[in-house]
């Protein structure tokens, strides 16, 4: 049994296909959803979406949003989302560095949550991007 998953952001349709299971960063904790799940509306945290198909897993970084689950369909309305393959590692590292530095320095109190969110976003990006590397290495490994 597979379940249809649509991931949309305001800018584009990121993903629309059937998967065996999808793991989402719900605001009340990580949740795995398979076909036949009870109808659910939940907010999403900054985190990673995992799309399981057979033995393959696809990773998507998501920066918050909402998910609507029906027994046969999952609609993810993400604020921002990108594939692990699309992540610019250098930029994410630079952003992480910047966020760390400004949090360590004396920044105005109202800027703190902004920088803290930036810190979480960039460290998530790096975490998701690492999956891409691992996945790339695997085929040659299996072949040997």
């Amino acid at each position: 049994m597979t379940i249809q998953v649509d991931i949309v952001t305001p800018e584009r349709m990121l993903f629309s296909d059937e998967v065996d299971m999808v793991t989402l960063p719900g605001s009340d904790g990580q949740m795995g959803i398979m076909a036949g799940h009870a109808p659910l509306l939940s907010t999403l945290d900054i985190g990673e979406i995992m799309l399981h198909r057979g033995n393959e897993v696809e990773y998507i970084a998501v920066g918050g949003g909402v998910v609507e689950v029906r027994p046969d369909k999952v609609n993810v309305l993400a604020d921002v989302a990108e594939y692990a393959e699309e992540i610019d590692i250098e930029r994410a590292e630079a952003a992480l560095q910047r966020a760390k530095e400004s949090l360590a320095s004396n920044i105005p109190a109202e800027r703190r949550p902004v920088m803290a969110a930036a810190l979480r976003r960039s460290s998530l990006r790096l975490k998701v991007a690492r999956h891409r590397r691992r996945r790339r290495e695997r085929p040659s490994f299996d072949g040997g």
Partner: protein, 288 residues
Amino acid sequence: MANTREIRRRIRSVKNISQVTKAMEAVSAAKMRKAQSLVTSTRPYAQHASEVLSYIARLPSIDSELDALIQIRPTKRVGILLVTADRGLAGGFTSNVLRLTASFMREKRAEGLEVEVVTVGRKGRDWLLRYDPVVRAEFMNMPDSPTTYDVSPIARVLIDDYLQGVFDEIYVIYTQFVNTIKQEPVVEKLLPIEPVEPSIAMAPDYIFEPSPEAVFDRVLYGFTEVQVLQALIESIASEHSARMVAMRNATDAALDLIDSLTLTYNKARQEGITNELMDIIGGTVALE
């Protein structure tokens, strides 16, 4: 008759103008194609978001504070989000959207309502400051392909103003992109959201995590954002196609002018030669 050197100089300068307008046309054409491809990209999100919003709005268990976001309250103050371009030279693009804005503002004031405007783009801001300074906030220098990152401050201002009762109704005025040669300024209501009939695909009963209010809040924000984004993208696509057409017309006009100037120039040149010949002939006749 005009002297030939003068005409030659004019031909040269008009030729230069035609080269510039031609280059601008090419640039606008490229930017327009890019913006055009973005026009439909926000649709899936807007569709889903408006369905979810309408669904939650109809839930009987929703508390009264949320109601305020979707239910009509007595209107005293109207907010307008006016989307224009930063630059001119785009034919009637700016004046068309401003004319609509002016008449919309008159209309609302005639009903005894107060009006304030949040502007996107330098042109709308300049116009307001000159004729009717009711600017609540201004945003400028939007990129050619805006993202949610660029529009989220705008959406935040609007939603905050709405929730705090600064505005009872918010409209967006922008230029809708119909096709390359047709763009139409339109007024659309942004807030309060008018619930649409959710498609039958929505399940009858949902579990909410963490609460209906939290989900609603999130979707409402995203939905407003995507509507602002859509207005911006449409406006950008319209701006570039308006400029492209305006520049093409300018190039054509310049080429016509070159033709007629060349004709005048040749006539003047011929006349000069004829006059010279007549002088010579007149001279020889006088000598005989």
